[in-house]
Symmetry: D3
Subunit: 140 residues, 6 copies
Amino acid sequence: MVYLTRRYHFSASHRLHSDALSDSENTQLYGKCNSPHGHGHNYVLHVTVAGPVDPSTGMVMDITLLDRVVEEEVVERLDHTFLNLDVENFRHVVPTTENVCLEIFKLLGDKLGSKVTRGFPRLKKILLEETQSNYFEYEG
Amino acid sequence: MVYLTRRYHFSASHRLHSDALSDSENTQLYGKCNSPHGHGHNYVLHVTVAGPVDPSTGMVMDITLLDRVVEEEVVERLDHTFLNLDVENFRHVVPTTENVCLEIFKLLGDKLGSKVTRGFPRLKKILLEETQSNYFEYEG
Amino acid sequence: MVYLTRRYHFSASHRLHSDALSDSENTQLYGKCNSPHGHGHNYVLHVTVAGPVDPSTGMVMDITLLDRVVEEEVVERLDHTFLNLDVENFRHVVPTTENVCLEIFKLLGDKLGSKVTRGFPRLKKILLEETQSNYFEYEG
Amino acid sequence: MVYLTRRYHFSASHRLHSDALSDSENTQLYGKCNSPHGHGHNYVLHVTVAGPVDPSTGMVMDITLLDRVVEEEVVERLDHTFLNLDVENFRHVVPTTENVCLEIFKLLGDKLGSKVTRGFPRLKKILLEETQSNYFEYEG
Amino acid sequence: MVYLTRRYHFSASHRLHSDALSDSENTQLYGKCNSPHGHGHNYVLHVTVAGPVDPSTGMVMDITLLDRVVEEEVVERLDHTFLNLDVENFRHVVPTTENVCLEIFKLLGDKLGSKVTRGFPRLKKILLEETQSNYFEYEG
Amino acid sequence: MVYLTRRYHFSASHRLHSDALSDSENTQLYGKCNSPHGHGHNYVLHVTVAGPVDPSTGMVMDITLLDRVVEEEVVERLDHTFLNLDVENFRHVVPTTENVCLEIFKLLGDKLGSKVTRGFPRLKKILLEETQSNYFEYEG
């Protein structure tokens, strides 16, 4: 089993504000991230797929195919948006980077799952860098 | 003359839209950056000051002082904002990274200029990284 | 389960010298790192915590709390020190980066463990970069 | 158990072309990477070994020994070569980065395995960066 | 005057061998870089243009135009090639990174020069990273 | 004229303390950097030389020669030392990174100056990174 990881980039803005909390709870929990008009990041997305190496191609997966799926499902949907208003899934879900991870994993898992032969390649992990100070990982 | 550069970080969002252009000109010129609710970046700011090395301290400038000025004048003002709405100077000036550079240079030049002895240390240059793909420099 | 990782920085010096070895064994094993007055590094510390995403906040853990614990327990204790002389734990333990990892994991595990609800968030991993050429990981 | 990772660098060129495929299949699958005279990369190799910390040295493994093995077995063999023609193993195996990973793991595993006491340190993982956009991992 | 820099990436291989030198001089001067079948790098190209900020757009230059020129003139020509054989200009000129810099500056200068109004934007500088250990700059 | 820059690495420790200042002035000015037993950094040194490209070699300078001079004059002298005690020049000069820059420029300028033909290659600039947050430049 070999793991292949590709890095992708998108720039977006978000506001952290939960409908389940009062205004003062939002302010206290999210601090500056609750600022009303939002703020933004250059997100770096690492997509890891796992599989055996195909002996005739020497590859775990055709990278062109992976790029197409990630571009269509994730980058086109999230890049240069204000996540809270422009992306359907974040109208009622707080777009913390944790939740963006879960959403991306779901989008890619569904799409890659339909292109798989005998269980491989399999989506293994999403790693999403929000800033130089933090990143988040989800393995399904 | 030695140059000292410090790096600072802030995250903000912006929308590129010029009142001097029609809607279709805005769309054509700025592309996705004209998206109505904005998008964001992790900006990396390099501030360079120039001066001789003080023989008694071995320093071009007290870094604590530089940090305080940049924090107060730039980071607190721009970090976690939507530049177009939250920062006075960008209500009528397009917040391209070029214009953010000019604004930061002006803010710092005014403030540092008032703390100078015999002309030094002098603000030499602002370098502002917008994404991993581009950065801008201004020397006054 | 989502993993959240935060990066922290501290600068310290150390000397690799083991009381369990003779002087010539120390010289042979540690080479330049045995130099008598020590040398230093910019350490980069990655702290990973694991947990489910809280549906009301969208977060694995309040980052402000994590930052406070790491600052108090690790950064204030180790930053700008000579580890061998200034940090109690390394008076009789060689401050190799392996041992610094173990010590940081213990300090954080104790402190974070006391702030946990139903077992989460849990300290998952410490990764400590010593130079651009090497890093160490410990998972408890 | 502590994991120690060292980074190594080598520059090489390769051509992706599989004898198991027709010319048009090669062109379609590998695209520009099938260009007849090859192209190249600055590879970054991360070698991870795992083991307990020796209480008398504070180390998982003598880094000097690890460096010598990796230099002799991998860097000298692959650095500044055209993998397809200059490295025996890739005369009949496509030098995709997946296959380079498998080969490096084999070379290092054999050599490190012969230097082990009571099962440790053990070669844990190879991570090989091909470009800023992708990297591959293999754990044996 | 503001400086705008964009980063571009291409992967290529080259062999350092000068027709003006004997075989033994080539070996002695270029060392491993004289290896007969070449070796390769991930080149990072920084293109800097200078100009005043257009008050109606807030920009030094339309980045889309810059990207198109660099893609057509440089990246398509050099990416995934063996410079010595695949690029006309390096059939009789040693493709050291110094010479690749000069060639790129000439290609871009000619093309950007034809798109300029009243002297701006002007190609200011080329910076070309060959490895993590070295980079070259040329300002015309 | 082409500029060639090479990056070198060394790890050292230092204490900022000036004999020209009182103890309380030292504490106030240098803060944690005045800590009595010192602390350390991974320094990254960029050495830039300038010259025309030699038409027979395609190079500004033989990199092997540059590496040898920097290794002998700088890296061997400063790497894995406590600058204040182990390096003659810093026994009476505060080893701020400004002063380390000046010292390195002097060491390299003297040595490279003696290897020059018709004025080239010429030492152009020293850039010294102290941490991820600051770096210093000196051009003689």
